[in-house]
Amino acid sequence: MTLPHPVAGYRPAPDGAHPPLDFPEYRSTGLRAPAQAPIVVRHRLTEVTGPLLAGERLGPSDHDLTTQHAGEPLGQRIVVFGRVLDSDGRAVPDTLVEIWQANAAGRYAHARDNWPAPLDPNFTGGGRVVTDATGNYSFTTIKPGAYPWGNHHNAWRPAHIHFSLFGRAFTQRLVTQMYFPDDPLFAQDPIFNSVPDPKARQRMVAAFDLEATRPEWALAFRFDIVLRGREQTPFEEPHE
């Protein structure tokens, strides 16, 4: 058998940066969070590699959710942009970023979303971009509305955009949500508040950026995303 290739793994997340799986305030975790503790595993080749899905998955309107239909969607046009970095501040280039969101009225174009807010025939709410060589990405979309959900009495999700990122390795895979500054709904939202560290929570909140605003066209929000960084020392598998 070939000797194991020494591999530098990815650093574990600091305590409080990610939500616990078991978080009773978010009721759907009740039957879905595993009861057993996970087995902590060293990173080997499958974990430090990952799909490098660049431009081949992009359609012409994937970066601009306001141009995917015959007409313009209703709502406040916005640019959402930022940089994807690792925790050592290194850019994460050429990585696929996928987003999905509700329309301006807070309704998803999805068969199972049946709350009585209007659908918008000019808005689907799905988008994709790839970061450039310095990790930058940018979408044009409309500001999603808040929406009610059945989690607790009078529960409303703060306006948010779902984000999915691959990074450069299986270990860097991240699905998150981007929120908007100063949302009065944060205090009652268990999904937002499931992140234990309040500073980490704020990292999910985009910043309004007047400089990046497109005059007489669109407001702009900056959302930088930080994925796990690398351990310095390669790990050598014991062998005999």
Partner: protein, 188 residues
């Protein structure tokens, strides 16, 4: 593990929610290899919750080496290079259907240095605030006995990581998020 000064804080994970198909559904998602690839196998099963009910709004993603044990990635010791198997993507993505079923079309990965053939799996769903990760191993694979990850799994739970034969060209891999027969999940 402490965060050293100057290091950037991580962006937290959040649930995919129930409407992930708007952003994450790909028509060719389940095709780790194109239809008609020699040695093609289907691997699939049902995603169950802690009450034994199928999870109908989940997403399964898979990542694996090609049949030569190679990754088209700079970390591969042989360097990044397209697989010798035409159309091999290595990555699979399948949403669960109305019965909680998911399935990918793939080929058996080659063994990696010191490891038995395996496929890494991420599970996303409403109610999962972070993905959960597991691994698919192959039945009747002699190298499973010496696989370093399987060796760390309690013996009475290791079978949850090994797919079962399910007819010609098919393997079954059910995933139980919680409770009886709970799948072994991995912190990566």
């Amino acid at each position: 593990m402490s965060e050293s000064a100057g290091r950037l804080g991580l962006t937290p994970s959040q649930t995919v929610g129930p409407f992930l198909s708007i952003g994450l559904d790909w028509a060719d998602g389940p095709d780790v290899v194109p239809a008609g690839t020699p040695g093609e196998i289907r691997i699939g099963g049902v995603l169950y919750d802690g009450a034994g009910e199928p999870v109908t709004d989940g997403l399964i993603e898979t990542w694996q080496a090609d049949p030569d044990g190679h990754f088209d990635h700079p970390e591969d010791p042989r360097g990044a290079a397209a697989s010798s198997l035409p159309g091999f993507r290595g990555f699979g993505r399948a949403a669960t259907d109305g019965e909680g079923r998911w399935e990918i079309r793939t080929v058996k990965p080659g063994a990696l240095p010191g490891e038995a053939p395996h496929i890494d799996v991420s599970v996303f769903a409403r109610g999962l605030l972070d993905r959960v990760v597991t691994r698919i191993y192959f039945p009747d694979e002699a190298a499973n006995v010496t696989d370093p990850l399987l060796a760390e799994v309690p013996a009475d739970r290791a079978a949850t990581l090994v797919a079962r034969p399910d007819g010609p060209g098919r393997l079954r891999f059910d995933i139980r998020l919680q409770g009886d027969g709970e799948t072994v999940f991995l912190a990566v």
